[in-house]
C-alpha cells in the first residue's frame, strides 16, 4: 500500500477514534444518557463477560453454520434452476421477472408461517435463509450463461468441441464471475435473513444474543453483541468481495 493510499485509511480510523472519544466525553459529562448509549470503553470491556455468559464465539459458529447450510441449499437449488432457465429460454423469460419481484418482497415476514410448519428450530432459520439466497444465484447463473461471448462460442464450434466440453471449458469459466456475484449477494441476504429471524424469534446464534441482552437491559453487552454482528457481516462482505475481485477478468 503506497503512502498516498494510506491517507484515507488513516483519516477514516482517526474519524472513528474521534467519534468514540467524543461519545465517551458526552456520556461522562451527562450530555448523553448512559442507559441509552453506553461508553465505548464499557462496550469494549463487556466483550469478555459476553463471551463468558453467552458464548459469543460459539454462537458466532452457530450463525456461521446455519448460513453455510442455507447457502449450500441455496446453491443446490439456485445453480441448476438458473441453468434450466438458461437452457429453456421461454421458461427463463417467464420466470425471471417473477424471481426479481420475489427478491424485492419482504420474505422475512413469512416467518410465522415457517414457524408453524417447521417449528421453532434451526430448520426454520435454514429454510428462510435459503429462499432469498437462491433467487439471486438463479438469476445471475442465467445472466452469466447468457452473457458468454458469441466469439468464444464460435471458436468452440469451429474446433468441433462437444456440448459437454463447450459447457465445461468455455461457458462455465466465462460465466463464473457473474455467477459468483449472485453467490455473494445470495450469501449476504442469507446471513441478513438468518440474523433477522434469530433476533425476531429469539433463537439461534448472534441475533438471539442481541435480543436477550436487550431484554435483560444489559446495554453495554447489547452494543457489544451488535458490534459483533457488524464485524461478522463486514468479514463476509470483505471476504466475498476479495474473491469476486480475484475471479473478475481485468
Amino acid at each position: 500500500m503506497t503512502r498516498l493510499h494510506k491517507v484515507p485509511v488513516i483519516v477514516g480510523l482517526f474519524g472513528l477514534l474521534a467519534c468514540a472519544v467524543l461519545l465517551e466525553l458526552a456520556v461522562n459529562f451527562g450530555w448523553v444518557m448512559e442507559i441509552i448509549v453506553p461508553r465505548p470503553t464499557d462496550t469494549v470491556l463487556s466483550f469478555p463477560s459476553l463471551q463468558e455468559d453467552m458464548d459469543l464465539v460459539g454462537n458466532f459458529f452457530v450463525t456461521l453454520g446455519m448460513t453455510a447450510a442455507a447457502t449450500a441449499l441455496a446453491l443446490l437449488i439456485g445453480l441448476p434452476f438458473g441453468y434450466f432457465l438458461y437452457r429453456r429460454e421461454a421458461y427463463g423469460v417467464a420466470y425471471e421477472g417473477w424471481l426479481a419481484a420475489a427478491f424485492s418482497t419482504p420474505i422475512v415476514l413469512l416467518y410465522p408461517l415457517f414457524l408453524v410448519i417447521f417449528g421453532r428450530n434451526h430448520m426454520t432459520l435454514i429454510v428462510m435463509g435459503c429462499i432469498p439466497g437462491a433467487i439471486p444465484i438463479a438469476i445471475q447463473t442465467r445472466q452469466g450463461l447468457l452473457g458468454v461471448s458469441k466469439t468464444l462460442l464460435n471458436v468452440g464450434r469451429s474446433f468441433n468441441v462437444s456440448e459437454r466440453d463447450m459447457f465445461r471449458k468455455i461457458m462455465l469459466p466465462s460465466a463464473v464471475p457473474t455467477i459468483f456475484t449472485g453467490i455473494r449477494i445470495g450469501v449476504m441476504y442469507t446471513l441478513v435473513n438468518i440474523v433477522a429471524i434469530e433476533y425476531l424469534i429469539d433463537f439461534g446464534g448472534l441475533g438471539r444474543i442481541v435480543s436477550q441482552m436487550y431484554d435483560n437491559f444489559s446495554i453495554p453487552e447489547t452494543y457489544a453483541a451488535i458490534v459483533a454482528v457488524i464485524l461478522v457481516s463486514t468479514f463476509f462482505y470483505w471476504g466475498f468481495g476479495r474473491v469476486e475481485k480475484w475471479l473478475r477478468p481485468v
Partner: protein
C-alpha cells in the same frame, strides 16, 4: 418489386415467431399459476383432514374471504395508516439525509475513501440488529418505526447517490467551472440534473427496503401497524387473516415498487446520457458499493 416482396414476406415471419414465443411464455406463466394453486389446494385439503400441516395452509377461498374482511375492517385502515405514516416520514427523512451525504461523498474523494468502508460495513449488516438501539432512543411508539424506516432508506440512497456523483460526465463539471458557478449552483444546475437517474434508482430500492424495515420493527415491538397486526394474528393462530395481511402487504409493496419503477422509466425516457462513458448509470451498478437490506 421482388425485393419489396421479400421484405413483405420476412417481416410477418419474424413477428409471428415472436408472437409464438410470447404465447409460450404466457402459457408457461398460466400453467405455473394453475399448478401452484392446485398444489396449495391439495395441501389445504390434506390439512383439513388432519393429514398434513393441520390448519396451517387454509383453502384459497378462506384467504380471499379474509382479505375481504380485512378490507372492510376499520382497524385495518388504522394499522395501514400507522405503517404508511412511519414509512413516509422514515423514507423522506432517511432519503433526504442520504442524498446530502451522497453528494458530499461524491464531491470529496478523500472523505469518500475514508468513509465508504464504514458505510459498507454497516450497509451490509442486517439493520434489524440496530432495533434495540432505536427502541432505547425513540421508545416503542411510531417514532422508532420512523427511525428504522429512515435507517433502512439511508443506505441504498447514499450508495446510489455517491455512485451517481462519481459517474457524472467530467465535461459537465468543467463547463460549470468555466461559467464560474458557485457551489450551490453547481449542485442545482449540474450535479442534481445529471444524477437524477441513479438517485431515483436509490429511491426505488429505498422504498422497498423501508417497507421491510418498518414492518419488521412493528413485528418486534409496537401498538399498531400492519406488522403488529400480522404478529397478533400469528399469536392467536388466526391463519387465514394472517395470510390475508401478508397478501395485502405484498400487494402494497409490489404497488409501491411498480410506481417507483414507472417513475424511473419516465425519468429514463426524458434524461440524456449522463455518465462519463455516455451510458446511464444502472441500479445494479451499485452492487459493488454495498449490500443493502
Amino acid at each position: 418489386m421482388a425485393q419489396a416482396g421479400v421484405i413483405k414476406g420476412t417481416v410477418p415471419a419474424v413477428s409471428s415467431a415472436e408472437r409464438l414465443f410470447d404465447g409460450r411464455v404466457s402459457r408457461i406463466r398460466l400453467l405455473t399459476c394453475v399448478g401452484l394453486i392446485a398444489l396449495w389446494e391439495v395441501v389445504a385439503t390434506l390439512g383439513s383432514y388432519g393429514i398434513l400441516y393441520n390448519d396451517v395452509v387454509p383453502h384459497i377461498w378462506h384467504i380471499v374471504i379474509a382479505v375481504f374482511y380485512e378490507l372492510i375492517s376499520a382497524s385495518f385502515y388504522r394499522d395501514f395508516g400507522m405503517t404508511f405514516a412511519a414509512h413516509s416520514v422514515g423514507f423522506i427523512s432517511g432519503a433526504s439525509i442520504a442524498v446530502l451525504v451522497g453528494i458530499w461523498l461524491g464531491t470529496s474523494k478523500l472523505i469518500r475513501e475514508a468513509m465508504l468502508p464504514y458505510l459498507n460495513a454497516i450497509g451490509s449488516t442486517p439493520k434489524i440488529i440496530f432495533l434495540p438501539i432505536i427502541f432505547l432512543m425513540f421508545g416503542v411508539g411510531i417514532e422508532s418505526k420512523m427511525a428504522k424506516g429512515a435507517m433502512s432508506a439511508f443506505f441504498p440512497v447514499v450508495f446510489t447517490t455517491t455512485l451517481g456523483m462519481m459517474l457524472i460526465n467530467p465535461v459537465l463539471i468543467r463547463v460549470g467551472r468555466t461559467f464560474n458557478l458557485n457551489k450551490w449552483q453547481m449542485i442545482t444546475k449540474i450535479y442534481m440534473p445529471a444524477m437524477v437517474n441513479p438517485v431515483i434508482t436509490g429511491f426505488r430500492l429505498g422504498v422497498a427496503i423501508t417497507v421491510i424495515g418498518v414492518l419488521v420493527a412493528e413485528l418486534k415491538f409496537a401498538d399498531g401497524g400492519l406488522g403488529y397486526r400480522l404478529g397478533i394474528y400469528y399469536e392467536q393462530f388466526q391463519i387465514a387473516p394472517m395470510y390475508a395481511v401478508i397478501v395485502l402487504i405484498f400487494a402494497l409493496a409490489a404497488a409501491a415498487n411498480s410506481g417507483m419503477t414507472k417513475l424511473q422509466d419516465r425519468v429514463n425516457r426524458h434524461m440524456a446520457p449522463t455518465t462519463s462513458k455516455g451510458k446511464k448509470a444502472r441500479a445494479s451498478a451499485s452492487g459493488g458499493l454495498g449490500v443493502v437490506n
